[in-house]
């Protein structure tokens, strides 16, 4: 049996109070394994981002536990949790969040720099990773001079530079055209995923469903396992 990278048990999160209260995530139990590329799909507002934020140590659940690599992350102090994220989790945000005033390589090197690695060493590694994501020669350009797809690759290079065990991508293809989106996810699947890592992708994009090992569906804050054909038919 595959070993679990992520184990969330009975997590809940609501926003607001009284009449205005939204139960964004309700009693969700969720597992993701090493070597697995897992999708979380579902309509807008169904709680996907909220759930993944709790699972990746960004948003504290109201109740329930989250174990990443056998660590109960919500029992860590906030500094320890930050360190855990820094070393074990890679994030790709929907709108990249690259610093426009830094070069592409400097952007990619940020996690290593936060890990207090030597500057030149970090930049050298960032350049290597840019090569891996197919952006050789773009290292010294500002990220704004790159296309959307290229910027997404930069964001991915930044997310993988410290070789995290868990990679979280929120709508990585939302602002890309079909082919570019497919290329990127296919790239992540073949070049980044190993049997020692686990990738979770939030997406609406049925064009990339073919790359998933497993798809989890969210609706009204609840998780239901879905089979692929059903989803593709939707």
């Amino acid at each position: 049996m595959a070993k679990a990278a992520i184990q969330a048990v009975g997590i809940n999160k609501s926003f607001g109070q009284g009449q205005a209260m939204t139960k964004a995530v309700q009693n969700v139990t969720f597992t993701a394994n090493f070597g697995e590329m897992l999708y979380v799909v579902g309509p807008s507002g169904s709680g996907k981002t909220t759930m993944l934020s709790m699972i990746s140590g960004i948003l504290r659940p109201d109740s329930g536990t989250v174990k990443l690599l056998d660590t109960d992350i919500w029992s860590l102090s906030s500094d320890d949790l930050a360190d855990f994220r820094l070393h074990k989790i890679g994030f790709v945000f929907q709108d990249y969040h690259l610093f426009p005033r830094l070069t592409t390589a400097e952007n990619v090197a940020i996690p290593l720099i936060l890990q207090k690695r030597d500057w030149d060493e970090a930049i050298a590694e960032a350049k290597k990773d840019l090569e891996i994501v197919g952006l050789k020669g773009r290292a010294d350009m500002p990220p704004v001079s790159l296309s959307g797809g290229e910027q997404q690759r930069v964001a991915i290079a930044r997310a993988i530079i410290s070789r995290p065990d868990i990679l979280i991508l929120d709508e990585p293809t939302a602002s890309l055209d079909g082919d570019t989106g497919r290329n990127i996810v296919s790239f992540v699947r073949t070049k980044i995923l190993t049997d020692k890592s686990c990738i979770v992708i939030i997406t609406h994009d049925s064009r990339i469903y073919e790359f998933a090992d497993r798809i989890v569906k969210m609706e009204d804050g609840k998780v239901t396992d879905a089979d692929m054909e059903n989803l593709n038919a939707q």
Binding site: S53, H97, F99
Partner: protein, 378 residues
């Protein structure tokens, strides 16, 4: 330099427009603050010129005196009275007053005349031309070669003039530590000659200059003088009293403080505003850094580093500009009084630090408040 500070540095200086605006704001504020306070320091130092130049340890005067410029003469018995105080090594009279000179070409010029004690010449200036003994010669005066000297038409030794219908002759040119505030030349002569040339009231001693036997005697001397109804101040106390007068009783000080405050506010608003937009523009990126695993403390360090870097650079440029301007102004305006003192530099420095602290305070609060979840949600 730690990596995150290097990132902070690059974020700052790569944003040329904001970096320039920040520097201009701080430089401008520093320039104005130092210029204002230096001008004031210059005025203050000149207002105490006589005290500085004469250099006596203790000055005995009428308690109503507020500045060296308004003299209230002392009765001559005070000289013997002070000389008899135990602890007094010696005491001499000083005359200080103003007179109208008629220069050799017939023009009139006001001047400050200082009469030194005939026997000791205590408080005599350093001569750059002529011999001090010549002060005892007939009608002898020594002119001070300071920024006002040209108003005497740059006289040479032997040149003559008239002072209250008396003949006067320049026998020497002197150098003093500080020029006066009032824009008139200064002449030295003997105490007796000054009384002879300048009409006086019944009392003639402007100040009594006292040297104590030991520094420990100062307190007793002051007490004894007070008992006689007069005031004895040490050199520093007298300067402080004059400074106080110009600072609080002439409007010069208040105006200077208002101007300094305005410079501070202008600097603060330009820099604070720019720094705030700078932080706002990067706030989502700071949030992303937080999500990736930067600790709040590290983000605060980045912001403080950026603020202090701009503040110090602006301070340096401001100080440089101001010294340059004062130097230039002195070349063309000999009377230009501004002096940059360590005190002025510290005041401006504290103001700049305040600007940096206040500007970064808002940024720090923003960065502490940002939730990585909001960044994640987009």
């Amino acid at each position: 330099m730690p990596g995150i500070l290097r990132i902070a540095y690059k974020l700052l200086i790569n944003d040329r427009a904001k970096y320039a605006a920040l520097l201009v704001g701080i430089t401008f504020a520093v320039f104005l603050m130092i210029e204002m306070t230096s001008l004031f320091s210059g005025i203050l130092s000149r207002s105490s010129a006589t005290v500085i130049n004469i250099g006596a340890s203790i000055w005995v005067m009428d308690p109503a005196i507020q500045t060296v410029a308004n003299s209230i003469p002392l009765p001559s018995f005070m000289l013997d009275e002070v000389r008899s105080i135990p602890g007094v090594k010696y005491a001499v009279p000083l005359y200080s007053g103003s007179a109208l000179l008629k220069l050799h070409d017939g023009t009139y010029q006001a001047a400050n005349v200082i009469g030194l004690d005939d026997t000791s010449l205590f408080g005599r200036p350093e001569l750059i031309n002529g011999k001090i003994e010549d002060i005892f010669a007939e009608n002898a005066f020594i002119a001070v070669q300071d920024s006002e000297f040209y108003k005497l038409h740059n006289p040479k030794i032997g040149d003559e003039f008239e002072l209250n219908e008396h003949r006067g002759v320049f026998v020497g040119l002197a150098h003093v530590a500080s020029s006066g505030l009032f824009g008139i030349p200064t002449l030295y002569t003997t105490y007796n000659r000054s009384l002879q040339y300048i009409p006086n009231t019944r009392f003639t001693i402007t100040y009594l200059l006292v040297e104590p036997k030991t520094p420990e005697d100062v307190a007793a001397i002051k007490k004894a003088v007070t008992a006689d109804g007069y005031l004895a101040l040490t050199h520093d106390e007298f300067i402080a009293k004059i400074t106080d007068f110009y600072t609080y009783h002439t409007g010069i000080g208040t105006n200077m403080m208002i101007m300094t405050l305005i410079s501070f506010i202008i600097g603060l608003s330009i820099s604070g505003q720019t720094f705030y937009t700078f932080i706002l523009e990067n706030i989502e990126k700071f949030g992303a850094l937080k999500a990736i695993g930067a600790k709040s403390r590290e983000l605060v360090m980045m912001i403080l580093f950026q603020a202090s870097f701009v503040a110090l650079t602006g301070y340096g440029i401001g100080v440089g500009l101001c010294s340059g301007m004062i130097w230039m102004a002195r070349l063309y305006l000999p009377d230009y009084a501004a002096i940059i003192t360590p005190m002025n530099l510290s005041v401006a420095f504290i103001m700049v630090v305040l600007i940096a602290v206040l500007s970064s305070y808002v940024g720090v609060r923003k960065v502490l408040k940002i939730e990585p979840f909001d960044i994640f949600r987009g």
